[in-house]
């Protein structure tokens, strides 16, 4: 039984190390920032999640004490990784505004959200001299 537990822990640690390595190789290998963003935010987070589950099983099964820290770390990382990836993609889009003219029209009266939201107001949108709009 202990052997099976150790096998499971070792497997989780090895898989975690493998995925962390895959994420960093992708960070080197992929060509531009937008494809490059996939590797660290997906593969590395997945690998770290595997390592944290392995660590929790280790402290629960081998050492005999329950530790909740790993759940906190993995929860925090799994919440924050998409947010930071999205933030980096948005900052990159604003630094490379030359891609904007190549985009097709959106087909509605809304523009492309990242590029057009900060510039021209949409038709029908309350302007700054609209009395219903609260003062900023």
């Amino acid at each position: 039984m202990l052997f099976l537990l150790e096998l499971l822990i070792s497997l989780l640690i090895v898989l975690g190390g493998f995925f962390v390595l895959v994420g960093s190789i992708g960070l080197i290998k992929l060509g531009d920032l937008m494809p490059r963003l996939h590797a660290p935010t997906k593969a590395t987070t997945l690998g770290l999640g595997g390592m944290l589950i392995g660590s929790m099983l280790f402290f629960l099964g081998v050492e005999g004490k329950l530790s909740i820290h790993e759940v906190l770390i993995s929860l925090f990382l799994f919440i924050t990784a998409p947010v930071s990836a999205h933030f980096m993609a948005k900052a990159w889009l604003h630094l490379n505004a030359k891609h904007r003219p190549k985009l097709p029209p959106t087909g509605s009266n809304r523009g492309w959200s990242t590029y057009d939201a900060s510039h021209a107001p949409e038709p029908g949108w309350p302007t700054s001299d609209d009395p219903d709009r609260p003062a900023q």
């Binding site: 090895v14 994420g23 402290f59």
Partner: protein
Amino acid sequence: MIQLALYFGFFAVSVALLLNLWRLAVGPKLMNRILAVDTMVINAIALIVLFGIQYRTTMYFESALLLAMFGFISTVAYCRFVLRGDIIE
């Protein structure tokens, strides 16, 4: 067996950190460097977790949690500085 797996984990995370350092050094632009630093923080958390298993202590996990929080906050602050030219307006 856990020890062998830990050796593999240390090796993999260390190589991953070196690759991130390479990306941080060559760039080519600002956003790639921010991404490299963000990945380095996550890899450092992985290294701390592996150290905790190696020395059989749960004391390292507080530092891992702190590093996770500060890594996220620093990435968001840097991206916000790039976007707006200011962090707290």
